[in-house]
Every structure is written in structure tokens, then in C-alpha cells.
């Protein structure tokens, strides 16, 4: 059970935060098809930051002394770097779709093409291979939270709660969940959030009330870029051992799917991401999941092909959608460039 929850969270959290990134863009009226590209870029920046800081030796002393608080700070800095550069990268999309009123699908596709190309181009030149890794050690030894930090011995038990949510987890996961909550409240309970959403539904009406639609759309897309960049690094940190290779296994597109699946609402998105994460986790490790702890690996003994389990997350999404999509409603003005003169 512990294993199942931990693994599910590892898959679900990047999806959740990047899907929320999509919500911020689309609620402001910009289709952010570039989530995948921004994730790839953010992952690269985060890993590059970790790599360069390690080479500079800034945190070597902390590592040697086992000062895990400082190392968690290092992780946060890397997340911040990824978020900032993700936001900068997303400016390309905002500029094209807000200022130049370009087709947002094309702009997003361009960023999706640009990110892996640029990232691989630089990784090849920096590392002389197709993946950029940490300069020393791995993500588990540098960034993972372990029970020894809290004075527990190797054989001591932390209890169900401790071993599930504290031992062998990453701080990044919880930061993402916290951000998800804060930003959802921002979107629904503040003046800024209301204004942002109004620009995605009826920008003309919003403008007539004195809201600057361009600024709001820039804000939505920039927040989106920051979240997606950070989500990309979190994905690389927790599932790819802090390595960047110009690929996030289609997670950006999956996040887009989770966003539509969640009907552009944060709570539904969290549910959708968890469901998807659960099936992703089952697919990755169905043969070693012991559901009720009686030593019987039920899913493995059913004798169903591994390929079927890998297909399951996508199949389940389609089937669930078939039942729920009649009610699905996208923000009304998304994808339409705002033109002041238009009525």
C-alpha cells in the first residue's frame, strides 16, 4: 500500500501541476499546447542548474556534512530556476498569440518542436552525449528525504503515515501540492483570479469593465509557463533520476489530457491526475504490487500481458471521458486572439 501511494504520487503530481499550468493559460484565453515543450525546457534548465552548481562545489560541504536542510534548499533553488526559465520560454507563446494575434495552436506546436531541438543541441555540446546528468551522485542521495534525517535507525519503523509520506519522498512533491492548492484558491477566490477567468470567457465584456485583457493573458500564460517548467524539472527529478534528455515521455500532452478530463477545474484535475497516476503506477509495477499484504501478487497472477497494463491508463481515460464528456465545457474565448475592435 505504501509503495502504491508513493508511486502514484510520483506520477500524479507532475501531471497535476502541469495540468494546472494549462488551466491558467486556457482560463485566460490562450491555448497552451506548448506544455510538453516547456516541461522539456524546464527539466533541462533544472538539471543544468544542479549540474553547474555541483561543479562549482557550492553545496559540497553541506553534502559531506549530511546537512539535508541545505540540500533541500538546493532542490528548491533548482525548481525556482526551472520555473523562471519556463516562464521566460512561455513568453515566446504569449508574444505570438497576444501581440501578434497568431494562431495559438501553431505557436504552441512551434515551441513543442523548439524545446527538444534546442535542449538536445545544447546537451550534445555540453555533455557530448544525449543526456545531461548530475555532475556527481544521483537524485536519491542528494535530494531524497529519508527517515534517517529524523533520527530513525535503519530497522526502525516510522509507522504507516511516516513511511508513506515522509520516508523516501521528495520535498518537490509536497511543494507542488501546496502550490496547487494556493493557486487554485488564487484562481477562484481572488479578484485577480476572477479577472483572469473573465478574459477567457468574454474578453470584450472584461475590457469594457476596465480589465486589461492583454496583461491578463500575459499573466495567465506566464504563470502557466512557470508551473510547466517547474513540473518538467519535478518529473525529471522524481522519475528520471535528475537527468534531462529532451523528452518527458509525453507528460505534457498527458497533462493537457488531464486538464480536459478534469473539465478545466482544479479539483477535478487533481482527481483525474490521481486516477491516471494510479493506473500509470500499476502499469509500471503491477507484478510487485501486493494489495492487501497477504503475499499474493494478484495482478501478476491474473496472467494478463504487461502490455495491457501499460495501455490501461489511456484506455481508462477514454472510457471515463465517454461517460463524462457531455458536460465538458472549455473556456468560451480560448484560442481566439483578442481584438479590441471586434464585437
Amino acid at each position: 500500500m505504501t509503495f502504491l501511494i508513493q508511486q502514484t504520487l510520483i506520477y500524479a503530481v507532475p501531471l497535476m501541476i502541469v495540468a494546472l499550468a494549462g488551466v491558467f493559460a486556457e482560463r485566460s484565453g490562450i491555448i497552451n499546447l506548448a506544455l510538453e515543450g516547456i516541461m522539456i525546457f524546464g527539466a533541462f534548465i533544472g538539471v543544468l542548474f544542479v549540474n553547474l552548481v555541483q561543479q562549482a562545489g557550492t553545496f559540497d560541504a553541506a553534502k559531506a556534512a549530511g546537512d539535508w536542510v541545505a540540500l533541500q534548499g538546493f532542490e528548491l533553488l533548482a525548481m525556482l530556476a526551472a520555473a523562471v526559465m519556463g516562464a521566460v520560454f512561455s513568453l515566446l507563446l504569449s508574444f505570438a498569440s497576444v501581440n501578434l494575434k497568431a494562431d495559438q495552436t501553431i505557436g504552441g506546436t512551434a515551441l513543442n518542436l523548439l524545446a527538444p531541438a534546442l535542449v538536445l543541441f545544447f546537451i550534445r555540446i555540453i555533455a557530448n552525449q544525449n543526456t545531461l546528468q548530475m555532475a556527481t551522485g544521483d537524485s536519491a542521495s542528494w535530494f531524497m528525504i529519508k527517515k534517517s534525517f529524523f533520527g530513525y535507525g535503519r530497522t526502525e519503523d516510522m509507522g504507516f503515515f511516516g513511511s508513506t509520506f515522509i520516508d523516501k519522498t521528495y520535498l518537490a512533491t509536497y511543494i507542488c501540492i501546496l502550490l496547487f492548492l494556493v493557486l487554485s484558491i488564487l484562481l477562484y477566490k481572488t479578484r485577480f483570479g476572477l479577472r483572469l477567468r473573465s478574459c477567457g470567457e468574454n474578453p470584450q465584456a472584461a475590457d469594457s469593465l476596465g480589465i486589461n485583457v492583454y496583461v491578463m493573458r500575459y499573466a495567465g500564460t506566464t504563470i502557466s509557463g512557470a508551473l510547466a517548467g517547474m513540473g518538467g524539472f519535478v518529473y525529471a527529478l522524481t522519475t528520471a533520476n535528475c537527468a534531462a534528455n529532451g523528452d518527458v515521455a509525453g507528460f505534457g500532452f498527458l497533462a493537457l489530457a488531464v486538464m480536459i478530463f478534469g473539465n478545466w477545474k482544479p479539483l477535478n484535475i487533481a482527481g483525474a491526475a490521481l486516477l491516471f497516476g494510479l493506473f500509470k503506477c500499476i502499469a509500471a509495477s503491477y507484478s510487485s504490487i501486493d494489495i492487501n499484504g497477504d503475499g499474493v501478487y494478484l495482478l501478476n497472477e491474473l496472467g494478463i500481458s504487461a502490455h495491457f497494463y501499460r495501455m490501461l491508463p489511456y484506455l481508462v481515460t477514454l472510457v471515463v471521458l465517454a461517460f463524462t464528456s457531455k458536460k465538458s465545457r472549455a473556456p468560451k474565448a480560448e484560442g481566439i486572439p483578442y481584438d479590441k475592435g471586434k464585437r
Binding site: A96, A110, I260, H307, M311, Y314, L318
Partner: protein, 414 residues
């Protein structure tokens, strides 16, 4: 004469072509700038490396290698033929995306349709015994089978969109990954894996193991040493057929009407649901044909354990279609252009310390700029108006908007 030129200039299509050409030029220029910046900051490259890099970006297709440390250029039939060979699937996936665009759908599902086409045409080409059936018949069956598989796979997003109102982008993404897993499942443990050659069991047999290969049609004489075959001609014929279908038939008109405004189309008595499914099926068939032509060539191998990656050829259909402004004829040229950049990338990797990803950067920048094509077109119109106004002292009347339909056809003049 001048009048004629003026007319040509005024056409919407000419402006589309010009806008695309400007995008291409700027994209290549930015690529060159990146090469300069990276080269000057990298001790391995230096100024001479920069010069080589830039010359290859612009003329890589005509590169003939290195002689005494200097790059040589000239007609290179191998590069030329390989360009045509690689263009074949790109043209078809580009068409697939373009048809869907014209009907108001975003077919991001081309990779999945491509995979299904690959699997079915390979199974047919390798599974039908060549002792019993003539190989040309097997080729045709496999080709049509691939198209059919793609069409059926494309139908799924179309159906769920039409019947259940599921966003087609989402359904396409899901079917992509389902296809990737399904194809791996089909081939995992099957007899189609190449078990004869050592260390090749990760791949499916080349279709030439069963004697099935696309006819060369004399193209190998023109481009010796390359992989080119008759597939490129088939792709061009299909592009022309798609052009006729979309622009000269009632069905094409109905499909486009649904894309422009689904509700208005239904009001006009067009079966909108049927047309959505149909246009996705056509798009899927084109992607399936792309896969069939690529893998039936007889000299290509399919890496079957593909559940973690989707084929890039499918995604590359998107920029091909965008750059061509979804015009089926223009897709032929943009497909060739993309594959040319591919060849340029290979030359860069082989001959300099740069790597092939710079050409991907160039493609991305071109696509990004093509999103501005409206702005570029507007600038072109403005400049022309200015000039005319300055010359004649009067403002010419604005271009009537009825030229829009003309513009779509005009793009073929590239």
C-alpha cells in the same frame, strides 16, 4: 507584363508563398546565428568551423564531403535521392494533418495512425507467403491494408468526437499511446522479429526478406547509391488526388464547410457527424499510407518495442502541413524541404563538430514564424499599398475579401 506581375502579386496565394519563404529565410538565418554564437564560444569549433557550419546549413544538400580538409560541393545524387525517400512519409503525414486542419480538426494522432499502418502493412507483407502469391500483389495488399488500418485508427477520435463530444486532441493523444502499446504487444514474441541476423531481434524483418519491395521505377538510375524508390511518385499522386478531393468535389466542399462552422453546415443540410468521422478516416488513411510506403521500401527496419516513444514522422507532419498552409500541393514542397533539412543535419553531424539538432531548431523557428504569416502578409499588403500610393498619388481600393478561396488554390503555384 507589369500588369500581370501586379495581378500575381495581389493574389492571396502569392502572399502565402512569400510569407512562407520569408519564414524559411529568417529561420535559416537564426540557425546560422546560433551556429556562429556557439562556434565562437566553443574552442573545438572556432571560426573555420563556423564557416563550414553555415555553408552546410544553406547548401548541405549539395555537399559532397571533405577533401584535404576543405568542404566540397556539387551535385550529390545520394543526398538528393535520400531526400526524396525521406520526404515520402513526411508528405503523406503532412497531408494527413492538412486534411484534418481544413476540416477544423487538429490531427495530433498521426503518430498512432502511422504506427497502426506500420504494423498491419508489415504483417501483411511478411505474413503472406511469396511462393503462393506474386510479390507485386502482396505489396498492393500490404499498402492498402496499412491505409485501412490507419483509417480505422483515425476513425476512433472522429467517432468519439462526433458521438460523445470528446475533444479530438485528447482522444488522439490517448489513441497514440494505445497504438504504441498495441503495436509492441502484437510484435512482442511474434515470428516477425528478425531472428536470423544476430542482435537484430529488436527489429522486424525488412520486407525484402519476403521479396516485397517498392518498385524503383528507374529512380535508382537517376540517383545512384540512395534509398529512393517509386514511393515518392505515389506520394505526389496522392497529394494531387487529395487536392482534387478537397477543392473540386462536393464531398471536399462539405468537409470544409463542417470545418468552417459545424452548426451552419448542419443547418445547410450537411451530415456534420458523418463528415467529422470521414475526415479523420481520410487523415488516418494518409498516415497509414505514409507508414506503408516507408516500411514497404524493403530497406527499412522497424524497431518494434515502441511503447515509450511515438514515431517522429507522425509529429513532423504537423510542421509540414503548417508551413504549407494546409495546401495539399504545397505539402509536396514543404515535405521535401523538411527532409532536405534532415539531410543537412546528417551532413553537419558527419562533417563538423555540430550536431543534427540545429536543423530541428531551424524547423521550429520556421513553424513559429509561420504562425505570424498573417502579420507578414499584412505587412506585404501595406508596403504595396504605400508604394502604389506614392507612385500614383492615390490609394488603390483594398483587396476584396472574396480572394480568400482563390488564395487556397493559388498556393500551388510555388
Amino acid at each position: 507584363m507589369k500588369e500581370k506581375l501586379g495581378k500575381l502579386w495581389g493574389k492571396e496565394g502569392t502572399k502565402s508563398v512569400l510569407a512562407s519563404l520569408i519564414s524559411i529565410l529568417i529561420g535559416m538565418a537564426v540557425g546560422a546565428i546560433i551556429i556562429v554564437v556557439v562556434g565562437l564560444n566553443n574552442p573545438n569549433l572556432g571560426p573555420s568551423g563556423v564557416m563550414d557550419g553555415i555553408r552546410l546549413v544553406f547548401g548541405g544538400l549539395f555537399s559532397t564531403g571533405r577533401e584535404a580538409g576543405e568542404l566540397t560541393f556539387g551535385f550529390n545524387p545520394t543526398n538528393m535521392g535520400d531526400m526524396l525517400f525521406r520526404a515520402t512519409p513526411l508528405i503523406l503525414t503532412g497531408l494527413s494533418v492538412a486534411v484534418a486542419f481544413k476540416t477544423g480538426l487538429f490531427n495530433i494522432g498521426a503518430p498512432g495512425q502511422y504506427l497502426m499502418g506500420t504494423a498491419v502493412s508489415l504483417m501483411l507483407a511478411l505474413g503472406i507467403p511469396s511462393e503462393a502469391v506474386p510479390t507485386w500483389l502482396i505489396w498492393i495488399i500490404a499498402f492498402l491494408g496499412g491505409m485501412l488500418a490507419g483509417a480505422l485508427w483515425g476513425c476512433i477520435p472522429g467517432l468519439v468526437k462526433a458521438m460523445l463530444n470528446i475533444n479530438e486532441v485528447l482522444a488522439c493523444i490517448m489513441t497514440n499511446w494505445i497504438a504504441a502499446n498495441l503495436v509492441t504487444w502484437i510484435f512482442d514474441g511474434s515470428d516477425f522479429r528478425n531472428l536470423v541476423e544476430n542482435t537484430k531481434s529488436g527489429y522486424i524483418y525488412k520486407t525484402s526478406f519476403n521479396g516485397v519491395a517498392t518498385a524503383k521505377l528507374g529512380l535508382d538510375k537517376i540517383f545512384p547509391g540512395s534509398q529512393v524508390n517509386g514511393g515518392i511518385l505515389i506520394a505526389i499522386v496522392i497529394a494531387i488526388l487529395v487536392y482534387i478531393l478537397m477543392n473540386k468535389t462536393t464531398l471536399g466542399y462539405e468537409l470544409k464547410a463542417c470545418g468552417a462552422n459545424r452548426h451552419a453546415a448542419r443547418y445547410a443540410g450537411i451530415a456534420d457527424k458523418r463528415n467529422i468521422v470521414l475526415s479523420m478516416a481520410i487523415a488516418g488513411a494518409l498516415s497509414g499510407a505514409a507508414a506503408a510506403l516507408y516500411y514497404l521500401a524493403g530497406n527499412t527496419e522497424f524497431y518494434w518495442s515502441t511503447y515509450q516513444t511515438l514515431p517522429a514522422t507522425g509529429f513532423n507532419g504537423i510542421p509540414v502541413a503548417l508551413l504549407a498552409a494546409s495546401n495539399p500541393i504545397a505539402v509536396i514542397f514543404t515535405g521535401c524541404f523538411m527532409s532536405m533539412l534532415d539531410i543537412v543535419g546528417l551532413q553537419l553531424t558527419n562533417l563538423t563538430a555540430y550536431n543534427e539538432y540545429i536543423t530541428d531548431v531551424i524547423i521550429a523557428i520556421i513553424v513559429y514564424l509561420s504562425a505570424f504569416s498573417l502579420v507578414i502578409k499584412m505587412l506585404l499588403t501595406h508596403r504595396r499599398k504605400h508604394k502604389a500610393a506614392a507612385a500614383a498619388g492615390e490609394t488603390p481600393p483594398a483587396q476584396p475579401p472574396s480572394d480568400q478561396g482563390q488564395g487556397e488554390k493559388g498556393g500551388g503555384e510555388a
